[in-house]
Symmetry: C2
Subunit: 321 residues, 2 copies
């Protein structure tokens, strides 16, 4: 479709996932060649329904959507975050159900097929729990050498967590999977709460989406209604964090990381109070960003632009004066 690199998106759609998908579909810098879903904000099945409905609104039912893992590597799916993303994962908004069905392959098969079809070129954007990616690594240990890079929204370095004092939802929902993915031998960029919490969209932004030319943008604007309320207690005004859209914009390069050292990252997959924490070693970073020798994971801490305006300009056109 474009000369952009082929992109597989792994998501748990999810309000901010929906915003990230809408942004990617509207971006010539991105060529989404497949989407897998995973349980997180909602179940993998509902996430696939939501994703298909969004693709239908965008006229992009050509993109295969595969249902991925319902349960994390250990234990069972806990029911998602209806208090944040609504009972249906997209703020209670009733989207027209898609006529397309999920791809018959599961998300792991889809990912591996795409990696083989685009050797060394496929990029992976993971904005849900990392179960599918971990299962793909299990099924195909050579996967890291087959793909170009992986961008993960998740974790927290020095910022508090959002489901426990120290754990962020995508990691906390499957710490075992996160441990496998973040220690695998590929080029991983982690986009943690430290930076995503600094990127917000407010009610004025939501109104621009409601008046956008594309149906998918307007639909996403509707899903944001309750999400903005939810964040009121966090920010003190109606604005939501743009976790997944920021990871998407960093991947396509419309937002650039200005502080993103390669530092040791270990996932606490034990059963103590730190379960689900990304333990990011920031001890050598006081005097400025330093790549720690041997550290694989790049952790984004600052960016050149706010993703909110970038996203709104792309989806809704320039602001009306």
């Amino acid at each position: 479709m474009t000369d952009a690199a082929p992109l597989y998106v792994d998501c748990d759609t999810g309000i901010d996932d929906a915003l990230a998908l809408a942004y990617l579909l509207a971006s010539p810098e991105a060529d989404v060649v497949g989407i897998g879903t995973v349980s997180g904000n909602t179940s993998a099945t509902v996430a696939a329904d939501n994703t298909l409905a969004l693709l239908a609104l965008a006229g992009r039912e050509d993109i295969p959507v595969s249902v991925g893992a319902t349960d994390p590597l250990r234990g069972t799916f806990g029911g998602g975050a209806p208090e944040v993303h609504g009972e249906n994962g997209i703020g209670g908004v009733d989207l027209e159900p898609a006529t397309a069905s999920p791809d018959p392959r599961d998300a792991v098969e889809l990912l591996l097929d795409l990696a083989r079809a685009h050797p060394g070129e496929l990029r992976i954007l993971a904005i849900g729990p990392l179960t599918n990616l971990a299962l793909a690594l299990e099924r195909e240990p050579g996967l890291p050498a087959m793909v170009r890079d992986v961008v993960v929204m998740g974790g927290a370095a020095l910022e508090p967590g959002n489901v426990t004092a120290v754990a962020e939802a995508n990691i906390a929902n499957d710490p075992e999977a996160a441990a496998a993915v973040l220690s695998a031998d590929w080029d991983v960029t982690l986009v943690p709460l430290d930076v995503t919490m600094e990127h917000t969209l407010d009610e004025l932004g939501r109104r621009r989406l409601l008046e956008a030319p594309e149906a998918i943008a307007r639909a996403v604007g509707e899903t944001l209604e309750a999400y903005l309320d939810r964040y009121l207690q966090v920010y003190g005004y109606r604005a939501c964090a743009l976790h997944d859209p920021l990871a998407a914009a960093l991947l396509v390069g419309t937002v650039q990381a200005t502080r993103a050292p390669r530092v040791p990252v270990v996932v606490d997959a034990g059963d103590g109070p730190g379960r689900g924490q990304t333990i990011v070693d920031m001890r050598d970073q006081r005097r400025g960003p330093v790549d720690v020798p041997g550290a694989r994971c790049r952790v984004v801490l600052e960016t050149d632009l706010q993703v909110g305006p970038v996203l709104l300009d792309r989806l809704a056109g320039p602001p009306v004066a």
Copy 2:
């Protein structure tokens, strides 16, 4: 000696412990009635020798010094931090050995005796691992109701650790003890790396100590020589963090906390990568300090003054213009 509240100090002397002790002994706001030692920066025995030598320099051999726990609650003493505090705990400086001997009581007995002698009045300053305090709680479960309050230098909220990515030395040296002390039913103030790392003393400050009227201040100035070198890699210039002196100044009130919410604190005493971390729940603090209902521990995050100048004015007199 003064009308100040009676104060028990539990320490692992230690260069910054020495500075804290010198400051307390010079402060009319403090009435040090007993000191217990614990293994941490150095062994409990060497810490007692160092403490007695400092008291002799200050002419305060009337203060009982008790040797406390050599080993943490679980495991054995690991040998201290000679790379930070020197082989003898005080930067390799040879202080004149004291003629006084340690008190025959161990530190736990001393603490309990003092708590009984000053019912409801005793204050506790803990600037080493919390082994002695945990053992005292075990031996006398009623201790919390017998003392006025406890100020602990230790842990990290959103700041990196100093012995692992997430663990601070005093807590990491005995996580089981820290877990007991920070969850006991008393008024605890935690002074973590988040605030202590912001309080420094540099070579100019050290020189003022070397020219101070009191022998103890001059001796402490000597111990700081290698300590300043050690911190060069952290700050980028020769300056050391004033961990223990800040906790001491906060206890006596010469420095006041301006941001110190009561927030949930859990110590990770498991065997995973987070062992020794103080998990401080900072999720509700984004919009300003909020005391979390039910939270016992006050965590100091900002102060009104830098402790360095306060300490130097007390120990060395006003700076020469």
